[in-house]
Symmetry: C2
Subunit: 228 residues, 2 copies
DNA sequence: CGTTACCTTGATAACCGTCAACAGACGTGG
DNA sequence: CCACGTCTGTTGACGGTTATCAAGGTAACG
């Protein structure tokens, strides 16, 4: 049976990892390293695209500003991901904004160089198409979840997703660490409602909470809740 | 100021209208006409893509089946639109389903022919990329709307969108005509809640309702509600 | 030590989903 | 032409969920 959790990932790291070593080297030769502190904006709504970004280290939230300035976060990119190419390819202004949620090392490829790369690496265009098609499915899935799932199910679902996003291969641990407000803006609720629900999850021994750090304890039960 | 209503359209008709007359003729030579009765499925979730579709006449809803079989509709395609290419290009199964909501004349291009066309019409691939990038913005907009807007604002917003979808150039009129359940599944609510709200809109003289047909009366006020 | 940002908790009301009953519309077949 | 079942839409009652307002607590940082 299909589980929504299986289709919450953009897989934007696949674009780069699918390239050959030579292509990878070529691509790297066009990048320029940038350092961002936590909380810095990388691009913003209605801004004009100047290039694309690859995350070397750190995490970046992608969001849109809705009613009364409330952010709607719809993705968190992590190490290895390529992002920021939609508006560039569509020749439109940015529809969304991106901001670091940790200190980040980012590789930047400017617009012209990216065009050059699209010509020099024939498979790149196809990889982008594949990835965008996949993203389409993810966003459609997100829409269905937001429109139909209860808050409780949404929280469980996105905790499981973030569990993956925050997984550290070297220590094999996963500690979700982001402001309550951001988490609220992912699952589409108010800060206070989120807090109460987290408390409840804690009492049910589904998660453990230490300040802003969240660890998952009972993944089986969380999965059951996410699918309800 | 940015209005959400401005970014609710996929513009999938632009793909075809951007082609030269020669390219258009070439594309047409690969199509096969199909007739669908109202309510027929064109493709369905987890199905394997066999080609792409162009609407000659009629309307098609695109949706995903969520909890307890409840449909989440996220787009309605109309005359001139090309659709069904995402899963094909991504080499994945259909993530969504499509079903006619009127009797339709559809032009079908099978998978291999579509590949041939992608090679013969160089600009086609780029047009698809552009369109998908644009769609990304539309879906993100939809997510923000669903997560943040009140039911009342969502109804006003989508009535305005449907006003456009159902606009008839020859008569210059616009009569929204679809089952209550479908409308409910667009704005993400229950049939009953939708019914009550429509009644309210009618009492406020914002719309007129005749059986399942809805006409907009006070577009200015609807816009104001949509932006609240 | 004070300021600021972030988080928790409580009280309240509104919104909306669900259940249930009913009324029309429609098409089919007798 | 009528009887019937089905599909669709309407209305009412109800309760749960969750947003909002307000206050107070705690951590972080200079």
């Amino acid at each position: 049976m299909f589980k929504e959790i299986d289709n919450l990932f953009f897989e934007s790291d696949k674009i780069l990892s699918s390239l050959s070593p030579e292509e990878h080297t070529l691509l790297n030769s066009y990048t320029r390293p940038l350092n961002f502190k936590e909380g810095q904006l990388i691009f913003y709504e209605n801004g004009v695209p100047t290039g694309v970004f690859i995350i070397k280290k750190g995490k970046v939230k992608i969001f849109k500003t809705g009613i009364y300035g409330k952010e709607q976060i719809f993705y968190i990119y992590k190490e290895g991901d390529l992002f920021g190419y939609h508006a560039l390819l569509a020749n439109e202004k940015y529809e969304d904004a991106s901001q670091t949620i940790e200190d980040c090392e980012i590789l930047f490829i400017n617009k012209d160089d990216f065009q050059t790369l699209l010509e020099k690496i024939p498979s790149l265009k196809h990889l982008l198409i594949q990835n965008m098609s996949h993203e389409f499915g993810v966003l459609v899935n997100t829409i269905t979840i937001l429109a139909q799932k209860t808050l409780r199910a949404r929280l469980a679902l996105y905790l499981l997703k973030l569990y993956d996003t925050y997984h550290d291969k070297t220590t094999n641990t996963s500690i979700i660490n982001l402001p309550r407000e951001d988490l609220a803006n992912i699952i589409g609720t108010a800060r206070e409602s989120l807090g109460r629900l987290l408390k409840q999850f804690k009492e049910e021994k589904l998660i453990s909470v230490n300040k802003r750090e969240i660890e998952l304890i009972d993944i089986q039960k969380l999965r059951a809740i996410a699918n309800s």
